[in-house]
Amino acid sequence: MQTIRSSEITPEHIYVSRRKFMSSASKIAVGAAMMAACSRQSDSTDTSLDAGNISTDVDELGDSWTNYTSIANYNNFYEFSVNKERVAAMAQDFKITPWEIDVGGLVKNPGRYQIENLLTKFDQEERVYRLRCVEGWSMVVPWMGFPLKRLLDEVEPTMNARYVRFETLYDPVQLPGQNDGWYSWPYVEGLRLDEAFHDLTILATGIYGRTLLPQNGAPLRLVVPWKYGFKSIKSIVRIDLVDQQPITLWMKAAPNEYGFYANVNPNVHHPRWSQDTERRIGELGRRDTLLFNGYAEQVDHLYSNMDLQHNF
């Protein structure tokens, strides 16, 4: 067991160059073939780029991407460890092939999907999103993945479906944290149907153009950028369309502190701490937390008639 040393990880300037390669090739098909091409690119050491000239990539607000080492080594994934810095080492041998995802419940076409099939069936696109943890830190992550709605369209929710319920793998041998009775395993998360169909909501399969690492939720995880990080459930094995609001792991653990919606909101505080500010990983100062994590324009219509203080 050892943590991933920065030397084992492809330097960031290579990702940057890889990304430039990707954007120049964006006219060509993206997806699995694309990712294979990218990994070939990274094998040829690119010495023309100055190593100091890193992280020129920014999100739409002009904030730099968080470096890959940080993303890969600072993880909240209690199934491996409650210590964010130990998760990466604990997750090293996590078996992600074969991996099947059952999609069912109130749908017309329930199905069992192999992860490889999802990767080829749906075009993988890059989405650069801010990730705000309820604990008060944040990152900017260049995800690879596809909108959840593509999969939902495929299975066709019935008229009665109102929520989507997600479940992480339950395997206490591989996920030793699940032996801890403090939480009720497996990890469960949920979205309202309109949230699930929103274009920003994706199922992620990669980061920085690379296949997702186990500590980041491989092989398939949810990413809902306007909600606190814990909503973005990792290592999904089941997706069900349901008519009742799912009860999530965090709602069970502390019902007065973690609600179903968990939208990033500087005006709605956790009962024991304020959510006014956050620390971006890689920065020392604090920055203001933005309403809906900066995605208010895209998502506030989802909550126009709701009391967000009450529906926290």
């Binding site: 600072y74 403090w182 505080h269 620390r279 990983i281 100062g285």
Partner: protein
């Protein structure tokens, strides 16, 4: 055993200084070798707060342990333990207002009252500070019988500090509860009936 402690007190004192400074040395080591996590300020906050709490528990345990086990010479180490607790608490406080909030008074005012655990921590610190200041021989003499009364404040510090810890953790409060349990025992040790029960228990064990 008590004799051994008095006899070895010089060495025990050296050991105490080494142990008490170890968390700080390790922190500086990790700082200089960039071994902290990618969220270093949180690391430094936790790694100054925890030693403060542990040392505070040790301070509170001196009197009961003396009483129960007859280890009266332990008293000579109490002041050092208390001052080290205050040192870590001061660092913890400075890290919070300086590193974390950049001495931004406006931001601090906004946040402190929305984070009740911060208020508890601040109160704990404010009750510990006068004890550290009046820990010198001069102050013991000057305050006379009031010194002992003043220093009873440390019980309050203990309760505040452990409450601060319970309120600060995300969900799993098992570890803070262990601290709370130890503090409770140390406070109960000041109750005569509880001590009598301990004596009886000890007698029963020794007569068996």
């Amino acid at each position: 055993m008590d004799n051994v402690i008095s006899y070895m007190s010089k060495y025990i004192r050296v050991l105490l200084h080494i142990c008490a400074l170890l968390p700080l040395v390790m922190l500086f080591y990790d700082l200089s070798y960039d071994n902290l996590s990618v969220n270093p300020i949180q690391d430094v906050t936790i790694r100054t707060g925890k030693p403060a709490l542990v040392l505070l528990v040790l301070v509170l345990s001196i009197t009961p342990v003396r009483k129960w086990f007859g280890l009266h010479s332990l008293i000579q180490f109490r002041r050092s333990l208390g001052l080290y607790a205050f040192m870590y608490a001061s660092l913890h406080f400075l890290v919070f207002i300086g590193l974390d909030y950049g001495f931004d008074i406006e931001l601090l005012q906004l946040s402190v009252f929305k984070k009740p655990y911060v208020v508890l921590g601040l109160l704990a610190y404010l009750t510990l500070a006068p004890l550290a200041i009046t820990s010198t021989h001069g102050w013991i003499r000057r305050l006379g019988k009031y010194w002992k009364i003043l220093h009873k404040l440390v019980y309050l510090t203990g309760v505040l500090a452990v409450s601060h810890y319970i309120w600060a953790v995300k969900s799993d409060i098992r570890q803070p509860l262990i601290f709370a349990a130890v503090i409770c025992i140390m406070l109960l040790a000041r109750v005569r009936a509880f001590n009598r029960a301990i004596y009886l228990l000890r007698e029963r064990i020794s007569t068996k």
